[in-house]
Symmetry: C2
Subunit: 201 residues, 2 copies
DNA sequence: GATAAAGTTGACTATTTGGTCAAGTGGTAT
DNA sequence: ATACCACTTGACCAAATAGTCAACTTTATC
């Protein structure tokens, strides 16, 4: 089977994808250092040698998994909002209020890796820097759009985006630490109230 | 040497203390799973068998290290403030603004362990729950005192303390992720500004 | 000084870790 | 049909892992 960019092959990307999926799950659950290769392979149903055909080592595979999975997540979550013509803030807020998709036991996949790896490994540091900055600029884009259509007054959307990501990450961590999803809910309401104070110039 | 509670022995708590110190450092730097017993022992200058005389296993030692070190930290940082007669907020804010003691590379020792271990190990989960709740109640105590002496208007200090811890943890994480201490500084200024909005009823 | 307890030493073990590799399989193009 | 290729298989390896243990030294107590 030839690998061609933009190929219509549905099959045979399966092995690589199974590895990406299993790696992401195991790393999300146990951390990078705690994710055993043997467990990843078992979960993926892929043999070791086969894995080393696709990836140079555990680290490369984990980095690929994190980047691909989180890129998709961003696209699904924020791509949608930015594509709107109005109601940016409403859509953003209702996403924040919907806790049904959130996993408070495991917390934020980005924050987990940042905390664990950023000060240990330069490659992880670089990767997470980039992902975190994407996260922030996604939020900023929403606020910029909101300013554009008058849902927000002119303001420093960069700082507002910074504080929003800060509060969100903190809220997820708090819920993980306390075991109380309500901590997240309460924090988000305060955050939303704060953002709304920028509605009137 | 007999171990007597409240003994005046200065020496010979050294071995245990060396282990606690080294464990805390290694765990703070590498995470619990990434902290190798051999490295801890080397850093402490203590032999393995000696360590197992004081602690049942790596986990017990790590839990002891985290609890003791962080308790001390809380006492030093917040005990001071609560003991004041006035200027609670000023003192609290100036502590937040002083970044000279902060280690943005490694981030928050509490958050690191929460993220890594809370969903993996029940004993860690319990310990970190308790520590995180102490953190929050320390902050709340400051706000309660501030209300008492009129530095803050009557308000829901519990929610305010929640949001403050959330913003602080998020700010530290953000600085770690981006590598920019300025992100922490900016976030803290926004947070302080928010808290100050409660000065006038 | 005898006794006992507290603390120390470092070699040893069993297991798990990530990684290697030579031999195979099966599809595709010529 | 044959030669080539991407892909698979699983046995193997060296290093690192946490934990054990019997013998030893030091200290306190009488």
């Amino acid at each position: 089977m030839r690998k061609v960019l933009g190929d219509s092959n549905k099959m045979k990307e399966t092995t690589r994808q199974k590895l990406i999926d299993a790696t992401y799950e195991e790393v999300y659950s146990n951390g990078y250092q705690g994710a055993a290769l043997a467990d990843i392979l078992a979960k993926a149903g892929v043999h070791k040698g086969s894995m080393y055909h696709f990836f140079a080592n555990k680290k490369e595979m984990a980095l690929a998994a994190i980047q691909e999975k989180i890129s998709n997540r961003f696209f699904e979550r924020y791509g949608k909002i930015v594509a709107l013509k109005r109601g940016y803030l409403d859509e953003f807020f209702s996403g924040l209020r919907d806790i049904s998709q959130r996993d408070f036991k495991r917390g934020c996949p980005i924050a987990n890796i940042v905390q664990e790896m950023s000060n240990i490994d330069e490659d992880f540091n670089t990767a997470m820097k980039s992902i975190y900055s994407q996260f922030r600029s996604n939020i900023k884009m929403i606020f910029d759009k909101a300013v554009e259509v008058g849902e927000l007054a002119q303001c420093d959307t960069d700082k507002l985006a910074l504080f929003t990501t800060v509060a969100l990450e903190g809220a997820i961590l708090s819920a993980k630490a306390s075991g109380e999803p309500q901590d997240f809910v309460d924090s988000v309401e305060i955050l939303i109230h704060y953002i709304e104070s920028y509605k009137h110039g």
